[in-house]
């Protein structure tokens, strides 16, 4: 919430404060009164006695500008307050009560807004007389419709929030709900609009004054001063320049302050951008062999610089993936699982630094520039994201969106692309695909939309499909359909799938291999069946026991993992799960565990004191007997597992891979 406002904001606010203060204290300031003629030589330039010079009658320009601020700012503030005073109650009433009140208020408002404002102001002032009061009232009233609209909109967004419903459930009366729940929330956007409104009014008042329809001489106003100075432009340009510059700066400052206030209330998410080409070669990777596999990720790191410090969102992740396999990445929110996918694809916000390597069939993607990356994304790497509605363009037909990659990447003709799109949609189980091409995303159900995004991801026959929580937004029965579909397509197309999910049961059913992430690091990895049947890392074990299962008895007490995931900005040394781990000992606080490996299945885990594997079969109790020297895969540097029994003092830490040990913190977003 506390966001930096920036230097510009403070400069602008100071300027407004200065002008306001000067206007208020004008009578006390040591310069001649605004109407004192021949205070100095007429039309003289800036001097020590008259910092802004004098005008044609020898009046002090600074004094006139400062007194003019009284009128300009006075009208600005007064008109905004008047507009707010009338508009806010009407807007809140319309937004909160809805129904008839809303209809009437908004109908009248629309009519009012259709009036040509400045013409109306001119007419009223011309008839009623040009005085400060009249100008203020006219400009204030003219602002009312905008205020009603703004306040109503803001009220609407909050009136439908659940905290307002909660207040009603508590039995709170409407008036209290308005004052306590809605007004404080509407106040921020209103304040921001007030500043922008003041800028508008100051300009409007200036225009009226320039036309001689504001406060009458001799009382100065900025617009009037500009008008007077006009005739002297050639001999004494400072007379017109001084009020112009002051007015310009003031209007600019109002706008700037208003904009910054509004930005403060906006939550803006950073979009996906291609990663900046080697922003800094900051994160070198150790030498490593490149394997003959479809996808190899080697010591991948993604770090962010945030105002609070360095966040290691992905911290040294390695894996390999072959054709026809599904790799699942599981973890809780903030574990870095989605960021890992974005890092692999090179789709990261500009504030990030990426290290490590990603090899696709032996080609290092991290060495690719944006143009080369574009030729890989979509063509060889397909993506499906959680929310199909945001992945589809709402104003383009399904047909236009599905055929686009076909035409751009595969250079198909219009007719050919259409035929292929129909085939694609049919292959993801969409009934009547030819008709579907003419529809818009909002006309489809969530499950159908996700099928369309899958069809788009598959259109160029990618080698690897990345699916980031592809079913989280869908209903259970639809989830099953979509996962089945992904599985079937994987088989048919002999591609690899990287499935990111928080749902362990989904992963257990559809993945061949699983990676469990915690605080940006891999904490356990192995064949899915093995990891879920015999978790070694206490976190995986706890996660499995915390998830309710249908087979549990009713009112079964789930395992509770105390605390919450660590703050990635300031991760203490040692194991990141230590604080929540019931088995943690001294060593966990000081040394980060590397990835150990044991068993014939390359089951890896990052834990000094792993859970004993459940005795699988009485015969093969040699399970604990350390590593089988690994052939293949990434385990060349993997240390052997220490014996938990013997490690009270800390045996065998020399086996730790240097790289993993040094960079042990974690990640965050």
């Amino acid at each position: 919430m506390r966001r930096r406002l920036g230097l510009g904001f403070w400069l602008a606010a100071s300027w407004i404060g200065l002008v306001l203060l000067a206007a208020l204290l004008a009578d006390l300031l040591p310069f001649p009164r605004y109407d004192e003629t021949l205070a100095g030589p007429p039309q003289s330039g800036p001097s020590a006695a008259h910092p802004l010079g004098t005008d044609g009658l020898g009046r002090d320009v600074l004094s006139r500008v400062v007194y003019g601020a009284r009128v300009s700012l006075g009208v600005g503030i007064g008109a905004v307050l008047l507009g707010l005073g009338i508009g806010a109650p009407l807007g809140i009433l319309a937004g909160y009560r809805r129904k008839a009140a809303d209809a009437v208020i908004m109908a009248v408002n629309d009519v009012a807004q259709a009036f040509p404002a400045l013409v109306f102001a001119l007419a009223v002032v011309a008839f009623a007389g040009a005085s400060l009061r009249n100008v203020l009232i006219v400009l204030g009233v003219l602002g009312v419709p905008s205020w009603v609209r703004l306040i109503r909109g803001a009220t609407l967004t909050f009136a439908e929030r659940e905290f307002v419903l909660a207040a009603r459930v508590l039995g709170t009366r409407d008036r209290r709900i308005l004052w306590r729940e809605i007004v404080p929330n509407v106040a921020v956007p209103a304040a921001s609009y007030a500043f922008i409104g003041m800028a508008v009014v100051v300009v409007a008042e200036g225009s009226l004054a320039f036309l001689g329809l504001s406060v009458q001489a001799p009382q100065p106003t900025w617009g009037g001063l500009i008008n007077e100075g006009r005739t002297l432009m050639e001999t004494a340009p400072h007379v017109v320049l001084a009020p112009s510059v002051v007015m310009f700066l003031t209007v600019l400052s109002f706008n700037l302050v208003g904009d910054r206030l509004r930005a403060m209330t906006d939550v803006r998410e950073s979009g996906l951008e291609p990663v900046r080409p080697a922003a800094a070669p900051a994160l070198p990777a150790a030498p490593h062999p490149v394997h003959d596999v479809l996808l190899q990720v080697e010591e991948l790191r993604t770090h962010f610089t945030t105002p609070r410090g360095l966040v290691k969102a992905v911290d040294g992740v390695s894996f390999t993936l072959e054709r026809g396999k599904t790799l699942a990445i599981v973890g809780e929110s903030g574990s870095g699982k989605s960021m890992l996918i974005r890092s692999i694809l090179g789709l990261l916000p500009g504030t990030s630094v990426r290290g490590g390597h990603v090899y696709l069939s032996g080609d290092d993607l991290t060495a690719y520039g944006p143009a080369e990356m574009r030729s890989v994304l979509g063509l060889r790497l397909g993506t499906v994201f959680q929310d199909p509605m945001t992945a589809l363009n709402p104003v383009r037909t399904i047909g236009a969106q599905v055929t686009e990659p076909l035409r751009v990447h595969l250079r198909m003709g219009r007719r050919e692309a259409r035929a292929e799109a129909v085939r694609l949609l049919a292959s993801v189980g969409i009934p009547d695909p030819a008709r579907m091409l003419r529809r818009y995303p909002h006309q489809l159900s969530g499950g159908m939309r996700q099928r369309v995004t899958i069809a788009m991801a598959l259109s160029c026959r990618p080698d690897v499909l990345f699916a980031d929580e592809p079913t989280t937004a869908l209903d259970v029965t639809i989830q099953d359909q979509v996962l089945r579909l992904l599985h079937r397509l994987r088989e048919e197309r002999d591609m690899a799938v990287v499935l990111v999910s928080h749902d362990l049961s989904v992963v257990a059913r559809w993945a061949d291999e699983v990676i469990v992430m915690y605080a940006g690091k891999v904490v356990e990895r192995g064949p899915a069946r093995e990891v879920f049947a015999r978790p070694r890392m206490p976190y995986t074990e706890a996660l499995l026991q915390a998830a309710p299962r249908l087979t549990d008895p009713v009112h079964h007490r789930l395992r509770v993992i105390p605390g919450r995931p660590p703050d990635l900005v300031d991760l203490p040394p040692g194991c990141p799960f230590r604080a929540r781990c019931p088995y943690a000992r001294d060593r966990c606080a000081t040394e980060p565990p590397p990835l150990f490996e044991d068993g014939p299945q390359h089951h890896q885990y990052a834990c000094w004191f792993p859970r004993d594997p459940a005795p699988a079969e009485p015969g093969s109790t040699n399970d604990t007997a350390h590593t089988r020297a690994d052939t293949g895969s990434t385990s060349d540097t993997t240390p052997t597992r220490p014996r938990p029994e013997s490690t009270s003092g800390g045996a065998g830490p020399e086996t730790v891979t240097g790289d993993a040990a040094s960079g042990v913190e974690s990640r965050g977003r």
Binding site: M1, L170, R180, T551, H555
Partner: protein, 422 residues
């Protein structure tokens, strides 16, 4: 899922909350309305947890909001300890609010970002002019440290902690019934377990009665004594949790269970139990609303809406052709092909009867009732016994295996526009 009827309601003096024939409608634009909840009945005994499960659009959240009369239902009855809430307006309705509290899905959006935790939790007592000294107590009860938490604002807390604050806000008024609308759906697994455990603790400590709404059957089963399955605004099945999971009878319940990986039951794969997409709630199917996705659907399902009937100990079902109980030994193969009702026998009546508008058969005659149920109802149709609203004498549990329907007469039949069976 199409069930209507209130045969499953228990006697009024046994229940704390009784909801009967609840109907909730929303305008859907162009003068049309959506029936989000369409004749749903259920009840809660004191101290019980009723789970309501269903997919998005099944009306479970609309039903929850109708319970607290925000907005009031279109029709139907909500009785809290005998007090008819739907008849109350204004101040008299407000006075009942203390007794019925609610917890929402989105922990962030359900807390006002501009207020401090102490104000948020203390709002209830302030509204009711109660001493505000219980704030610390309830904050501790939900596992927050009052000293550090009370003066902070919601954005300084994680999702799980915000949900604890919401729970504290509801608890401080000592409500009798707490309606939890997807309280853990937005939370991570580890935090979800914390909140579920907390709800169980608080239920015991404050003797709460809970309505627990969620889309996740495993979560619902974990906390609920009984589970109500909803589909498209109707009741499908109601049973004690264990029975519902181990002996699901409704095709939709079975599909829900089969869709959960590792469900444990020996059910056919989900794609054999459910097909296609949910129909639009603006234009729901005639008869049984699940029939467009049901592999067991027959002509009769389009023609008449199944009424809720009893099939076991406190096990209630709204389906014409329920599935046989899954065999625990795993020997059963998908059975619907063998037991599929022969539809040919009942088609003649469909062709002969003129189309009538979709019309949920509103009880009492034998028209809209399963063959088996017909026998029961006629047997019980002595005056007084079949009076709507009164408890039926419990019929003998029916054999769950459907028998092929014998030819019988349909009074309400609709044009066969939307039928489909396989």
């Amino acid at each position: 899922m199409a069930g209507s009827g209130s045969a499953h309601l228990r006697p009024r003096d046994e229940v704390l909350l009784r909801v009967e024939d609840l109907v909730v409608e929303f305008p859907a634009g162009r003068g049309r309305t959506v029936r989000a909840v369409s004749g749903v009945s259920f009840d809660l005994a004191r101290g019980e947890t009723l789970g309501i499960v269903g997919e998005s659009g099944c009306g479970k959240s609309s039903a929850a909001r109708a319970l607290v009369q925000l907005p009031p239902p279109r029709s139907g009855s909500v009785r809290l300890d005998g007090l008819e809430l739907t008849a109350l307006r204004g101040e008299s309705l407000r006075r009942t609010r203390r007794r019925l509290q609610m917890i929402f899905q989105d922990p962030i959006s359900s807390l006002n970002p501009r207020r401090r935790v102490r104000e948020i939790v203390g709002e209830g007592p302030r509204v009711w002019n109660l001493p505000g000294d219980r704030v610390d107590e309830v904050l501790e009860a939900v596992g927050l440290d009052p000293a550090t938490a009370a003066e902070r604002r919601p954005h300084e807390f994680s999702g799980g902690q915000c949900q604890r604050i919401s729970i504290a806000r509801a608890l401080i008024l000592d409500p009798e019934v707490v309606i939890c609308d997807e309280p853990v759906s937005a939370l991570d697994v580890s935090v979800q377990a914390q909140i579920l455990g907390l709800l169980e603790d608080l239920k015991a400590r404050y003797r709460l009665t809970l309505v627990f709404i969620a889309h996740d059957l495993a979560v619902v089963k974990n906390v609920s004594d009984r589970i109500l399955v909803m589909y498209l605004g109707k009741v499908c099945e109601l049973a004690p949790s264990e029975a519902l999971i181990s002996r699901p009878a409704h095709p939709y319940t079975r599909a829900l269970i089969a869709s959960i990986p590792g469900g444990g039951l020996d059910l056919p794969p989900a794609d054999q139990l459910i097909t296609g997409e949910p129909p639009s709630p603006v234009d729901p199917p005639t008869g049984c609303r699940f029939r467009t996705r049901c592999p067991r659907a027959a002509a009769r399902c389009a023609a008449e809406e199944p009424l809720i009937r009893q099939i076991g100990e406190d096990h209630w079902l709204a389906c014409h052709y329920p599935a046989p109980p899954p065999s625990p030994t795993g020997t059963s193969t998908p059975t619907f092909t063998t037991t599929a009702p022969s539809i040919t026998t009942s088609t003649p009546s469909i062709t002969t009867v003129p189309a009538s508008p979709p019309q949920p058969p509103r009880i009492t005659t034998t028209t809209a009732i399963d063959v088996q149920a017909t026998i029961d109802v006629t047997a019980n149709a002595t005056p007084g016994n079949a009076t709507p609203g009164q408890r039926h004498s419990r019929p003998t549990p029916l054999p769950a295996t459907p028998k092929p329907p014998t030819p019988h007469f349909h009074r309400h039949v609709h044009e066969g526009r939307r039928w489909r069976w396989r």
